[in-house]
Symmetry: D3
Subunit: 241 residues, 6 copies
């Protein structure tokens, strides 16, 4: 990986990790098989004292019904100093989320700690991410070209949708550093799970533990649902399933 | 009803009314036959000096195209005092919206004056409400497991969607008391009408009056729509239909 | 046009322009053929130093997938002074967006600088606009009866959806004046382009220039998409397309 | 007045009224003698069915303890189309609140329906207003140089304070038209009353009526305060004073 | 207490507790002697797993520099159903915070779970509270007449300041029930401590424990401050004081 | 400097620069002598196409009337992963703004890209900063103990004030990296200027240029103020001073 050709859009030393750590064999598939499990995973993290879930009413999915699971590849964008018009005239583009696509391994989830009110990812970028085999993206900030990203089947959970480009407004200052997404800390390699209810970030070193407890809880919930279907009176239902 | 087995999740004296008053025969069906009538009902309440309508852009329906009408069964949730992690460890769950499901009669609408940023109703709860014959729910606060509640056909109008559980964060302090939903006062038995445009709460003792005026207004609007289809010039259309 | 029968809902002198200027032959069709082009048009306006784009997460389309292009016919609404209940009792309705429908030419886009929290356009109004041949509407403020406007195929980009009528709360004080929509200045005759990503207002006298540059950029983007499909490495993709 | 030299910063026809109507003799002084009367005036307008009061927590006074009363001279600002940097380079300044100062009569209150996030009035402007004998200003939007305006004793109730100039961002499109300030309609000549609790706009043609009722209510409140000081039990206090 | 004459502004059964429990001898004075201790008390509650602190930037004190400590007497207000103008005409006033003043014992703190955007307490009410010996009030919602309450030395921490009366808009539905203030649960008798940094609600049954730990922490902080004054290098300062 | 004893609260490699670059001789003093110059400096940066000013209504000064100028020493805080109660029990404190005080040179301004809703700086920290000779601090997020920091004369411009500690909630992940404060990019060594109107961040390499233009503009404004005092008619005042 170390000799991968880079895009040059961001200084090499600002890429803190070149390849996000791979999750243990089978972990991703087993999490996926839980279906839209953001609530269950959030519950397990609550029990372990981990802060890690975000609301879908704030991080809105572009493709309803999508469920993705994969390791986080993080990007941090901040506003640049130059007025947008000055930058547009001199055509200085400091965004580097294409470097993230360049580094991405199949299954990775791009996690952008981006700028509000401005697009941090467009349609061509989404199409590129899709081709690289990424599972999708989580963006704190706006994205654009949603019909484009929908058409290639690349789901994004974003806080805003806006046509206003970040090209002349945003600078990517870090790839694979620790970021904060909606008051949740995310490190590269943390496991992202996103569905119609929200987004969870599972710390990498707790992921196996979370998975086991989540599978157990999913089974308990399935039993409770069955009891409801069978007509058990509400007052007789088991508590805290 | 007085000897109904309770869940015990909330003190008996905090249930202010055991069964919400039944609306007059036919009222619900006639309101339903007006279709998505939140605008018409809001207009009639304006004319009667009643505050009672909420925007669908704030109380967002989980199932587009749903229209529900039914008497309100109210629940009031507030934050509990314990840190969530402390409560999760000791497994003290003070939510009692299952008691509401327990008390619900077919056609009731659960109305939760809930806590923002936290789920006040999950998928198993929605499935239970569906089985009990409820029409749906209105929630001031977050809900979760929206794909679950959608799959069983239980529509919810909620201000937020989030995987973060209320189980270790929320306490239900009152059932069938007077609550405030988005700056509208709601009492148990008030008639709830909800569609893609919004939610209306019709005071129970004004419901018959509102229905009659709404039917009249719906007819007037239908006439106006016909005139438009027939090509009447805009300047010749009747005013204030 | 000068002898057109007016609705009388607004004083004649408050209609600043009776007919919005027609765009040059072919301009609308060529913009339409770019597809959902709000991002491209926003980029071109950036390069020309023009502020003119609004986010779809704020101005939310009622009909997903819609793309409209057409000249703006502007309406300015403000709160009236009377309490709503007083106005409802005396039945004084000062809204005049029907005058806008009356003045509209086929293809026009109604642009309402409206009041927040209150409906500035209802279903009958939308149906009327559709019959007049309008392309749709952009509304800063709430609209209502969204299932009605959807059923007649009249798309609206609005900041809110609410059943609460403006009839007894709002006064239309100006038609075809200069308005401000979400911090963008709009004049009658400016070209509106709206899609799932957002809304652009192109100043009328820059529209031809914007079109040419947008067509060029669309072609460049298509080439870049093709390169991605063909498998060109990310690091080798052209920049700033 | 008609031959007054204008600043030329705004087209003559966009000044809808050259001089705001003078209030009846004595009205201003009698309102002033009620002290900080925004609550009393708001109450009277409630009883008359008039919407006209704004919160001081939103329209924050720059000089605590100030009370002003005077007729409104209105200004409407909107965003201009050009990028700020382009405008700054070409030095095209379209703000015209100096024309308002030019037209102001002693005692007038400048009321600016301005742009959020950007300064609609600076220190030199405030100093000019002070010299012209204005009572102060109400600004929906930001102002700047608050230590300057404080030093000359010119109070402003504004929604924001920001150093970012409107000079290259804002255009004044109307003077002495009907404006909307925080969801209250204001016309030139309406009586503005502002204190630490809020801002009231009294319609000009209701002002005499409001004054009389306010004086009566102020007397009733003084009596109630005396009863409290004298130790009357709470349960014996008169209601609705 | 049971034969105290009531104001009749609220039904007797809606007063859940007639007199809030008295705190242990000396507790209030020892807490007061800690000075502006909201941060210290918040820290101790953190260590005990109690949620109980609110920001002063949201609950803004009307009198800078005030520090109050006392048991909570709670009031719950919700919107009433009638349009304000209808209520103003028929003069039906359903607010009952005067009943709270009537029930208050010297040193009590009125805690109002009120309505946003509308005044829940005015100047005459504050003056009455002062005469009754209350320490002050905490209000979730607006208050008015701040110069009046300042002049009698009755401090209020409120989320908004507005002249718009609650008299025709609000109904008090409960006194001395469990309320939620800014996402903190408060019960009657909980100890309120408020200063320029924020507001803390200490559960009554934990108050003695919190006091002891707070006194210990205050002493540790004083030692650390002394070390700083004496010039100890930053790297040598003790941690976590 | 390289052998300075560190606090160990943050990994050495996360301190990107050990000592912020010193501004040119005389620059700070000359900027200070312009008085409360945030508006003038913002204007000059506008003319140079630099984004760099923030509103005082968002970044509220704790000590009214303060004006500070000095080089930025930056701190980046993000939420930590552990639930606060878990961290409080295990007493793991990851905040490191004391390392910033440790590194600070006299005249430095601490600039914290902090966490909303939680205190990023308390009274002991402010007292330490004061002793180290810092000019003050700019904090995106809450601070606490404002009476403490006021008493030692250490001014802070912060977005919130809250007693809730960051000790068990926040992690400092970077010192002297590039941060974003309220949508302005700030690098270590940038010149901070803050007063009652707002906060400006002047890029270090443009500071000399900004100073010269600001001095020129200040002189022009002084001349204009003199003309106003001398009674020059508004229509004759020079434009764009």
């Amino acid at each position: 990986m170390s000799d991968k050709k880079l895009t040059g859009k961001i200084a090499r030393e600002r890429i803190r990790v070149m390849q996000v750590p791979r999750p243990p064999e089978g972990l991703i598939d087993r999490l996926k098989s839980l279906g839209d499990a953001s609530s269950i995973v959030s519950d397990i993290m609550d029990e372990l004292g981990i802060v890690g879930a975000l609301p879908a009413s704030q991080f809105v999915p572009t493709i309803a019904g999508s469920c993705i699971v994969g390791p986080a590849l993080t990007v941090r964008n901040i506003m640049q100093r130059e007025h947008a018009y000055e930058a547009a005239r001199t055509r200085v583009n400091k965004m580097a989320e294409f470097e993230a696509h360049n580094l991405a391994m199949p299954g990775d989830v791009i996690v952008i700690d981006g700028v509000a009110g401005i697009s941090n990812m467009g349609g061509i970028s989404a199409q590129t991410g899709k081709r690289q085999g990424e599972a999708g993206a989580i963006v704190s900030g706006a994205i654009r070209d949603v019909s484009h990203s929908r058409s290639v089947g690349y789901p994004v959970w974003a806080t805003e949708i806006s046509p206003i480009t970040g090209k002349w407004r945003i600078e990517t200052v870090e790839i694979n550093g620790d970021v904060e997404i909606g008051n949740v800390r995310v490190s590269p390699g943390d496991i992202v799970l996103a569905d119609d209810t929200g987004v969870c970030f599972i710390p990498q070193d707790r992921a196996a533990e979370v998975l086991l407890l989540a599978e157990k809880k999913a089974a308990a919930e399935a039993r409770k649902c069955k009891l409801i279907d069978e007509g058990l009176a509400v007052a007789d239902l088991p508590t805290n399933a």
